[in-house]
């Protein structure tokens, strides 16, 4: 048997289970409607859960991007100071962060896709639940029990099929969120106490060394300037009176 038929059997089997539950098929209508409202509620929570997970990933990505930008700046600074060793270290760390960012992007896209699907599914379910509510009242007003039963069968099968569909979307989204939470939890731990914290602090060590580098070159420049002043000025002052004893010392003092 083909896949289409097998899938259809499974969906129909679920629907008929629901129909068999009550002796009076009209009770099935009310019971089913209650279930639909429950599912709609659950879906709204599901959409919110997925959105929360997505935002968490966005936050983590922002933090990683800030770290990457900082390391890039440090690498440039190191190159300017001719410290290739430091530049290499900064770029290596940035590489690691870039890989993590790539992974986050994939997860983010997956969650975003699940979110969109859930929103679409909840809109479809919402429309069908509305339609079911109207149909339910019409069926209740139906004269003969046999006629009502057929209509109930159609309406309940139709809605339970939709609920089965939506249920699968929910399950999928829940699975995605669960694995995402485990991963972003691990990354949070990493950021809080593990390797990424080390990146930050060793990044600061890197910065300190760069500052020392920058500092020492400034000291060198200052030293050179002072040497220049001290080396040049005294010689002038000594030679000046000798060559030009004329009235120009005020200008020299400026």
């Amino acid at each position: 048997m083909g896949l289409m038929k097998r899938f259809s059997y499974i969906f129909k089997a679920k629907a008929s289970k629901q129909l068999d539950k009550y002796e009076d098929p009209r009770e099935t209508l009310d019971y089913s409607y209650e279930k639909q409202l429950e599912l709609l509620q659950k879906m709204r929570r599901g959409v919110a859960d997925v959105a929360t997970s997505r935002k968490r990933i966005e936050l983590q990505a922002q933090q990683l991007q800030a770290s990457a930008a900082k390391l890039e700046g440090q690498a440039k600074q190191a190159v300017a100071q001719n410290r290739e060793d430091l530049a290499r270290e900064a770029l290596t760390r940035r590489e690691t962060i870039a890989a993590q960012l790539g992974d986050l992007q994939v997860q983010h896209d997956q969650l975003k896709a699940e979110e969109t699907k859930l929103i679409d599914a909840s809109q479809r379910l919402q429309a069908k639940v509305e339609s079911f509510r109207t149909r339910k009242e019409t069926i209740k007003a139906t004269y003969t029990a046999a006629e009502a039963q057929t209509k109930i069968g159609e309406a309940v099968s139709g809605i339970s099929e939709e609920m089965g569909d939506v249920g699968m979307a929910m399950q999928r989204a829940e699975d995605k969120v669960a694995s995402m939470q485990a991963r972003s939890g691990a990354l949070d731990e990493l950021m809080a106490s593990g390797a990424l914290e080390d990146y930050a602090s060793s990044g600061d060590r890197l910065q300190a060394e760069l500052n020392r580098g920058a500092g020492s070159s400034e000291v060198e420049l200052e030293l050179a300037r002072l040497k220049g002043e001290l080396g040049g000025a005294p010689a002038k002052q000594i030679s000046a009176p000798a060559s030009t004893p004329s009235p120009t010392p005020t200008e020299d003092q400026r």
């Binding site: 048997m1 083909g2 896949l3 289409m4 038929k5 097998r6 899938f7 259809s8 059997y9 499974i10 969906f11 129909k12 089997a13 629907a15 699907k117 679409d120 599914a121 809109q123 479809r124 429309a127 069908k128 509305e130 339609s131 079911f132 149909r135 159609e154 309406a155 099968s157 139709g158 809605i159 099929e161 569909d165 699968m168 979307a169």
Partner: protein, 92 residues
């Protein structure tokens, strides 16, 4: 004939298109049995595209059962097997 694509909704497909769907469905089932993910996706897309082009989408508030149900476009063999799992061996 009403066909549901899971995650997409229901389509009204002309009855004379069933033969073509069955042909594509047979190919799809072979890929599931073979466990070949790549050809499964290709065969599934072919079947779904055929439903979408031959059929017309039913309005959101349409309330009725489908004659056939199909997995959504991003389904994997694993997911399909999971669904078929406990009730997949219904004789028919």
């Amino acid at each position: 004939m009403i066909v549901r694509i899971i995650g997409e909704g229901q389509f009204e497909v002309p009855a004379d298109h069933l033969e073509e769907l069955n042909r594509l469905d047979d190919q799809l089932m072979k890929t599931v049995d073979a466990g070949d993910d790549g050809s499964f996706t290709t065969a599934l897309q072919a079947l779904l595209t055929s439903v979408r082009t031959a059929g017309s989408e039913l309005p959101l508030d349409y309330l009725g059962p489908s004659d056939l149900v199909l997995p959504g476009p991003d389904a994997t063999i694993e997911e399909v097997r999971e669904v078929l799992g406990d009730e997949g061996l219904i004789p028919g």
